[in-house]
């Protein structure tokens, strides 16, 4: 019986690989997360990272994430990642029993995503004076103000923690995080 199961599973697996759904809703993943496909393979969906987070940042993905249900993600607007600034280590990475969230050499090398300014909505671009995001940004040099005092994101430095998104005074936010998991595609508001 087990043999039949294995044979059927191999067949079904190959079929799923060929014809299965490939597009997934992009989610902003915790620091140290592997690329999306590896994360889905390695994450055991135990929620240890979610419980370890001191800020209640991480949430459990629901069934809208397809087979990614039970994996951790965060909504920066609701609660960003503070990169465990008060602690010695990143708590979620420390809690993970697999390598789904793997060690990072230091906080500046975290790459959760990249902040993207919506120039049509941002008050600084429209004309009023605002530098909330640049002031809140914990990484020096990630958001700099240009000569016209408008925020410019340095994509090489930005870690994607989402604090800028969290503090943005416009509604909805005019600076959002493009998750690292979707590469260079157009950013999309993750709810």
């Amino acid at each position: 019986m087990a043999g039949i199961g294995v044979a059927a599973g191999l067949g079904a697996g190959c079929w799923i690989n060929k014809h299965g759904p490939s597009s997934r809703k992009p989610l902003l993943r915790p620091p140290g997360a592997l690329p999306e496909d590896d994360l889905l393979a390695e994450c055991i969906r135990c929620a240890l990272c979610i419980e370890a987070c001191p800020w209640d940042t991480l949430k459990l993905a629901g069934f809208e994430a397809g087979l990614g249900v039970g994996t951790p993600y965060l909504v920066a607007r609701r609660m960003p990642c503070y990169l465990c600034e008060k602690y010695d280590e990143l708590k979620c990475i420390e809690a993970c029993p697999t390598n789904a969230l793997s060690e990072v050499p230091d906080r500046k090398s975290v790459r959760m995503g990249v902040a993207v300014v919506d120039e049509k909505r941002c008050s600084a671009f429209i004309g009023s004076f605002c530098k909330a995001c640049a002031e809140a940004c914990p990484i020096s040099g990630a958001i700099v103000l240009d000569d016209n005092r408008r925020p410019i994101v340095n994509e090489k430095v930005c870690v994607g923690c989402g604090i800028c998104d969290h503090v943005c005074p416009t509604e909805p936010s005019s600076i959002i995080i493009r998750p690292a998991s979707i590469g260079d595609q157009a950013p999309e508001q993750v709810s």
């Binding site: 294995v6 697996g13 240890l48 949430k59």
Partner: protein
């Protein structure tokens, strides 16, 4: 003969307690002030030190990621070692789905008794338990080929764990806590999961624990390892088979034919792969012919002598 309903169903209550404790620990783990137990049904950490991992999940992750994770393997090893000694006790004593199905079954018994029916019907709808070994093979093969721990995303056991987590988290987060807001937040996250769970509970009306007996790959995993564990239901060889009350068979949630296949066959213990050491048969036996233990029956088993004296009144 005295009705045995007067006696407390010791094992049944004991294992319901352990299952409730496990669920309560998952809920408590959501709180920062409770560091001693963290995690959900797939992997947990005790006292912020000892890792425990669902063996099936650990194997699936190993297959899917094609890597060895020491913490996961230690965790799974600990549980499998425990299973080697105690049998598949997870299914009967810890599994939150088992608890749910048990309570559903108990409720149905109550209702049935309200309508005046006395005897339990024998467990119907036998399905070959080898099907779940097929499911186990299927799940592992899918994990290996699609690089996705297939069962972990759909496992009804995980769904209960996540639900406990999600409800606690939502209740903690939402400022003005109202049941409606918690329920709506839960529904958006795990609504379909709750439906899946309901579907499994409904299959109970076909036959009790049909999911566990026929389909659960985790149960199959534990059954493979724990079948010949020393902790077993033991049969008193002197007393067995003298009456045919069939209480044990009617009460066994896994539908094992305790009398036909074991008592009458002259065996002194039950080594059926489906046996989860839940003790339902032991609780149900009016003559104390059965016990749950590591050693075979000795004629000087005091407590059972008492029961026998009791039942002869």
């Amino acid at each position: 003969m005295r009705r045995r309903r007067n006696r407390i169903a010791k094992w049944t209550w004991l294992r319901r307690t352990t299952a409730c404790v496990f669920l309560a620990l998952i809920v408590l783990g959501c709180f920062q002030w409770f560091p001693w137990f963290k995690g959900s049904t797939t992997a947990t950490r005790l006292f912020s030190l000892i890792p425990l991992a669902d063996p099936l999940a650990a194997i699936e992750i190993t297959f899917a990621s094609r890597q060895l994770h020491p913490r996961l393997l230690i965790g799974a090893g600990l549980l499998l070692g425990f299973c080697l000694l105690m049998g598949p006790v997870f299914c009967g004593w810890v599994c939150p789905l088992g608890l749910l199905l048990d309570l559903n079954h108990a409720l149905r018994e109550r209702v049935r008794r309200l309508f005046g029916e006395r005897r339990r019907p024998p467990v119907s709808g036998r399905i070959p338990s080898s099907i779940r070994f097929g499911v186990l093979g299927l799940v592992l093969a899918i994990s290996l080929t699609t690089r996705m721990p297939a069962f972990q995303s759909l496992s009804p056991i995980n769904i209960i764990g996540w639900s406990a987590l999600e409800i606690t988290q939502a209740a903690r987060r939402i400022d003005a806590v109202s049941i409606a807001s918690v329920a709506s937040s839960y529904w958006t996250v795990l609504g379909p999961a709750a439906l899946l769970l309901l579907a499994i509970v409904l299959t109970e009306f076909v036959s009790p624990r049909i999911w566990c007996r026929g389909f659960c790959p985790l149960g199959a995993c534990y059954a493979l390892v724990g079948r010949f564990a020393p902790l077993r239901v033991r049969i008193d060889p002197g007393e067995a088979g003298k009456t045919r009350c069939e209480h044990c068979e009617r009460h066994c949630p896994m539908g094992i034919r305790v009398m036909e296949d074991y008592e009458f066959a002259g065996k002194d213990s039950i080594d059926h792969p489906d046996c989860t050491r839940c003790g339902a048969c032991v609780d149900s036996c009016p003559r104390g012919v059965l016990k749950l233990g590591f050693t075979p029956f000795s004629s000087r088993d005091q407590c059972d002598e008492e029961i026998r004296a009791d039942s002869s009144l």
